[in-house]
Symmetry: C2
Subunit: 194 residues, 2 copies
């Protein structure tokens, strides 16, 4: 299992999980032990711990996004595809062990916006905003750029609430996003009207 992947993959996996679970201040020793890789190998594969932080965050990006965002084969309306993100976030929180959006958490912990990990975090947060933007443009929203940012903010706000309260969200994220979409005219099909 753990030894089938290359040392690099094992390190990225272990780092992604432990940096998220315990914070970026977890020691390199504990990390290497969890990955079954020696410190020597680690420092041959990565220049520094800071680089490992950034690379592990980047390596988990695609998987995390697939988890949240509906695929291209999901041909529901843009509105429904957007709300899916919030519903999946809600489900992740409900499962427990949710410690916030990994990108926001890492950026908060690193403090320094120029840290390579912060740069990666910024990039992937923008990816989410871009997804919202595409869907909103397709739905014909009036100001998709602003609305996409607002939806990202609601996502991160729900995430912060989950961390602080340590309780399920109860659909409040999706409800807020829906309210904002309604206000912007990206409406649910009103079945009663036709």
């Amino acid at each position: 299992m753990s030894t089938s992947a290359t040392p690099r993959e094992r390190l990225l996996d272990a780092a992604g999980e432990l940096f998220y679970r315990d914070g970026v201040n977890i020691g390199v020793d504990a990390l290497c032990k969890a990955a079954g890789v020696s410190k020597k190998s680690m420092y041959q594969l990565f220049r520094s711990k800071d680089e490992l932080i950034a690379e592990s965050l980047a390596s988990r990006g695609p998987g995390y996004q697939t988890l949240l965002r509906p695929g291209a084969e999901d041909d529901r309306s843009p509105r429904e595809r957007i709300l899916t993100v919030f519903e999946r976030q809600d489900a992740m929180v409900a499962e427990g062990n949710y410690l916030g959006c990994p990108y926001v958490s890492t950026a908060v912990e690193l403090k320094n916006p120029e840290h390579p990990g912060s740069v990666v975090a910024r990039y992937f947060k923008q990816q989410l905003t871009d997804f919202f933007h595409r869907e909103l443009a397709q739905a014909g929203a009036e100001d998709p750029a602003t609305l996409a940012i607002q939806l990202t903010m609601i996502f991160d706000g729900a995430s912060a609430r989950a961390v602080v309260r340590a309780q399920p969200l109860g659909g409040i994220g999706a409800a807020t996003a829906a309210a904002l979409l309604d206000a912007a005219g990206v409406r649910a099909p009103e079945l009663a009207l036709h």
Copy 2:
């Protein structure tokens, strides 16, 4: 200056600032040095570093809230009083050196929701929600409880955005809050209608 206050006050001040600026992993040595207090005195005044985290967070709570929330003497409408919070947040971000809501940041860094610091964070976040709730109730909002939570989420979402982007918010928080208030019927006075 620094030595006029009691050792306890100096410690709480230094801790509040350094825990926020550098994270809760900053060492007790650096903290005591900044406060001009010996470690011996620190451990006589506080049982542990964890307790100091919680107490310093609590001690800065009232001041932080006064900074954000309009006072009782501000007799504008509930809607305007609510939006003031977002405008002041925006101003804090624009000043630079904004590293996110101290309560959310601390909770994120601590990971453990039962840590005394996390308990304090939860309490003060609830205080903000309660303020929104009172204002909304006075404005006659239909579902003030839900709306107050949503506004708090927007606040924390804007905060997360400021951290990740390390750039001014440009009023996006207040705009989102206003949109949500509009949708809920807590409207701005429409001068054109009378």
